[in-house]
């Protein structure tokens, strides 16, 4: 007596299985409990997120103050240097002039030299009326420079905060972001073929092997004639192409085979006989 194990197995499965409606009710109850637990924990997550945000704002404010202070100090130093430079240039010019004057009027040497020396000294020291104005002008220049720096920082600040906030949101709620990004990556079967990404060679070969294995073992394929087999095979390889596993494929009729080039330039043949 021969036994059809497959048929016996299916009959046995029907007899020995659990009450499917009861089991589904149990699963739904579990899902309801999970949802309740999720809603309870949500406020805690929001609180943590706002605390994190305040920290970022405080750090950004400290950074702004530090940068502004450094900028002011740098400008002060450079302002002083420029003033000293200007003074040294004017004194050297005056010295050159006085030498020329000496050369031209040597007969009145003592009086002229004294006068020139006095002039040099006077010019070396800051001319308060002129230099005060110059200093005031340089301070004003500093102030406007600081103001400009502050304006630039003020412009940068909201963007930096927005960026940090979005990063923080990503860190705190990974599930939704992952779901979004995973959802996008799962659309490979409906991607525009021109924009498809190619798989890694190993992954591509595995995909080809899996899908052809499934095809040749399917009932529809086993019962089909040659032309239908070719159609079924073409559907499979079209899908592999869309997924980026296969770069190109050709179906040959005599004998019935598919020649393909998988991602990574790996060539293969599948016999459809």
């Amino acid at each position: 007596m021969s036994f059809d194990i497959e048929k016996l197995y299916k009959e046995n499965s029907e007899k020995t299985g659990p009450d499917m409606d009861k089991l589904w009710a149990r699963i739904e109850a579990g899902l309801d409990e999970q949802e309740k637990a999720d809603t309870k924990t949500k406020p805690a997550i929001a609180h943590t997120r706002s605390r994190g945000l305040m920290r970022y704002i405080a750090v950004a404010a400290c950074a702004v103050i530090a940068v502004t202070g450094a900028f002011i100090m740098l400008h002060n130093k450079s302002g002083k240097l420029e003033t000293e430079k200007t003074n040294s240039i004017s004194s050297s010019e005056a010295a050159a002039k006085s030498e020329a004057a000496d050369g031209a009027q040597k007969s009145i040497a003592i009086a002229d030299e004294n006068e020139d020396e006095q002039n040099n000294d006077a010019e070396k020291e800051p001319m308060y009326s002129e230099d005060n104005t110059a200093q005031i002008q340089s301070i004003d220049a500093d102030k406007s420079g600081v103001q400009k720096a502050a304006d630039e920082v003020a412009e940068v600040k909201p963007e930096a905060l927005t960026q940090d906030r979005s990063e923080d949101a990503t860190a705190e709620v990974p599930e939704s972001d992952n779901a979004g990004s995973t959802g996008d990556s799962k659309g490979s079967s409906t991607q525009d073929p021109d924009e498809r990404k190619l798989m890694e060679p190993e992954q591509a070969q595995e995909a080809v092997n899996d899908m052809t294995d499934r095809l040749v073992n399917s009932d529809e394929y086993l019962d089909a004639d040659a032309s239908r087999k070719a159609e079924l095979a073409e559907e499979v390889f079209k899908k592999l192409y869309e997924q980026g596993a296969v770069i190109s494929y050709t179906i040959e009729t005599d004998p019935l085979t598919i020649r393909y080039t998988a991602a990574g330039e790996i060539e293969g043949i599948v016999s459809l006989v």
Binding site: K10, S13, L23, T182, G183, K186
Partner: protein
């Protein structure tokens, strides 16, 4: 259920629509139950774990990657769940690849062995198989995986899987014929 249909169920689940999970449950709950039963050998535990399986599936729907074969993916999750359960219960006894006869190192559900009529059913015959053989039979006949997919799931060569399946089916036929006589 085709891969495309499964993917659309997954998308529903990611959007927190329970109809996606219900469709997968309708298509595969019995087979998943059988795969788990083949490992834990207890109907009660298998039922509990099947429920845990679908709750776990709900939470990890976004980890499914298109093109990897949905039946194999489900089988791997079910198998791992069952093996973790066994390890917690019998950590010193578990030997997944044991070729010994009726899963000698794992106690079966006593209710089947005591039943007189059970000896004539396939269920009783299946309980005579080793853990390795029974897993292959449940995956092949229940989940309808190919030998290649089973080999990848178990981490064994395809030839070994095919040989073990043939041996298991021969055993089952022999047991059934002997019981008939």
């Amino acid at each position: 259920m085709t891969d495309l249909q499964f993917e659309s169920c997954i998308r529903l689940m990611i959007d927190k629509d329970r109809n996606g999970l219900k469709d997968i449950y309708t298509a595969y709950a019995k087979q998943i139950y059988r795969v788990i039963l083949g490992i834990v050998r207890s109907h009660e535990d298998a039922e509990d774990l099947t429920s845990d399986f679908f709750l776990k599936l709900w939470n990890m729907a976004d980890s499914y990657k298109s093109g990897q074969g949905h039946k194999r993916w489900l089988t791997v999750i079910a198998r791992n769940l069952a093996l973790d359960h066994l390890r917690k219960q019998h950590p010193e006894q578990l030997d997944i690849d044991s070729e010994d006869g009726p899963a000698a190192n794992i106690p079966a559900d006593g209710s089947l062995e005591n039943s007189v009529s059970a000896k004539l059913t396939l269920e009783a015959a299946l309980s005579q198989l080793s853990l390795a053989e029974r897993q292959i039979v449940e995956m092949k006949l229940g989940m309808e995986l190919t030998f290649r997919e089973i080999a990848r799931t178990l981490g064994e060569p395809q030839g070994t899987v095919a040989w073990r399946y043939d041996r298991a089916v021969s055993k089952l036929k022999k047991i059934m014929e002997e019981e008939q006589l």
